[in-house]
């Protein structure tokens, strides 16, 4: 049983047993969690705009004519699997297995890139048949919401490249591992936002 040490300062995030400040990784994860929640609040604005505008197709194509659920299912599957490989990669890094980590990071990157490729080809197909973001309020809201999610995935992929480079050069140090923890929080949160997108936009739009 560890003795209670009165350290004389407070981080604001005390441990439950009162034994000094909370571990750094708990504090770092909390700060990043606050950023993720603010990002989710931003997305809720885009979701609200889409929900309000989705019926205003202005005589143009509607979601029922445009959406291809088979493609959406493959996208969903890619993103879900990449969330899984990202989690396993974080575990491998925690267990200091560099080779396993690199394999899982490569898998996460390829699945995320496959998702982006399918999404981009969907966008390009819609624009080429005259259903671009300028066609109607419905399509403006669609491209803003789904595009904002795609932009987040793109940033996530760039971040992953940067992290892998750091881990290869600096090794699996605690500070680098905390950055990896933040990345995996970000990546899992993107998957949560995608649940809202495929349910509200695609599945309900196809009704």
């Amino acid at each position: 049983m560890a003795a209670v040490i009165s350290s004389g300062f407070s981080t604001g995030v005390e441990r439950a047993d009162g034994a000094g400040p909370a571990p750094v990784r708990v504090v770092v994860a909390y700060g990043f969690w606050l950023f993720i929640l603010s990002d989710i609040v931003m997305f809720s604005g885009l979701f609200a705009a889409y929900a309000v505008l989705s019926d205003n197709a202005a005589g143009g194509p509607t979601g029922r004519e445009l959406f291809d659920l088979q493609k959406v299912f493959i996208e969903t599957f890619c993103l879900l699997l990449s969330s899984y490989t990202c989690g396993l990669g974080a575990l491998a890094a925690e267990w200091r297995k560099l080779k396993h980590f690199l394999i899982y990071a490569a898998l996460t990157f390829s699945l995320g890139a496959a998702f982006l490729y399918i999404e981009f080809s969907e966008f390009a197909g819609m624009v080429s048949q005259g259903a671009g973001p300028t066609r109607s309020a419905f399509l403006s809201a669609f491209f803003t919401l789904v595009g904002a999610h795609g932009a987040h995935v793109t940033i996530g992929l760039l971040w992953l490249i940067y992290l892998v480079a750091q881990i290869v050069i600096k090794g699996l140090r605690p500070a680098v591992l905390r950055r990896l923890l933040c990345f995996s929080l970000f990546w899992h949160a993107l998957d949560i936002i995608w649940i809202g997108v495929f349910t509200l936009v695609y599945l309900m739009g196809k009704q």
Partner: protein
């Protein structure tokens, strides 16, 4: 009084611990299976007449909320442990803001459309 174990714990700068998150491969695998079940169920429900047609929307919302819960617990490790109290409180506040933005927008705009119908375009 400090014995050898205590010295090992306190011989580091405060807060820097070699502590693991406690999650394992099994956690992620269970999460993946549950999330896949929820995803496939929502695609099936939306494309078939398994549910009473007017109830499909409610069914999809329930499945989405269930899947978000699975992701939060199994992927983001949001549990009921003491380390998580702050995370849960922040999540609760975030959900309140999200709820206000979405239902507030839908409510106001639905009211506006009902009271000020758009004139047909000339």
């Amino acid at each position: 009084m400090m014995d050898a174990d205590d010295r090992q714990i306190h011989d580091r700068s405060p807060g820097v611990e070699e502590r693991e998150s406690g999650a394992g491969v099994l956690t992620y695998t269970v999460g993946l299976v549950l999330a896949l079940v929820a995803t496939i169920a929502s695609f099936v429900v939306s494309q078939t007449h398994l549910l009473w047609p007017p109830g499909v929307t409610v069914g999809l919302v329930v499945l989405a909320i269930a899947q978000i819960g699975v992701h939060l617990v199994f992927f983001l490790h949001l549990g009921s442990g003491p380390d998580n109290t702050n995370n849960i409180l922040a999540l609760a506040f975030g959900l309140l803001v999200v709820f206000l933005i979405i239902t507030g927008s839908l409510w106001i705009i639905a009211n506006l459309t009902a009271n000020m119908p758009l004139l047909p375009v000339q």
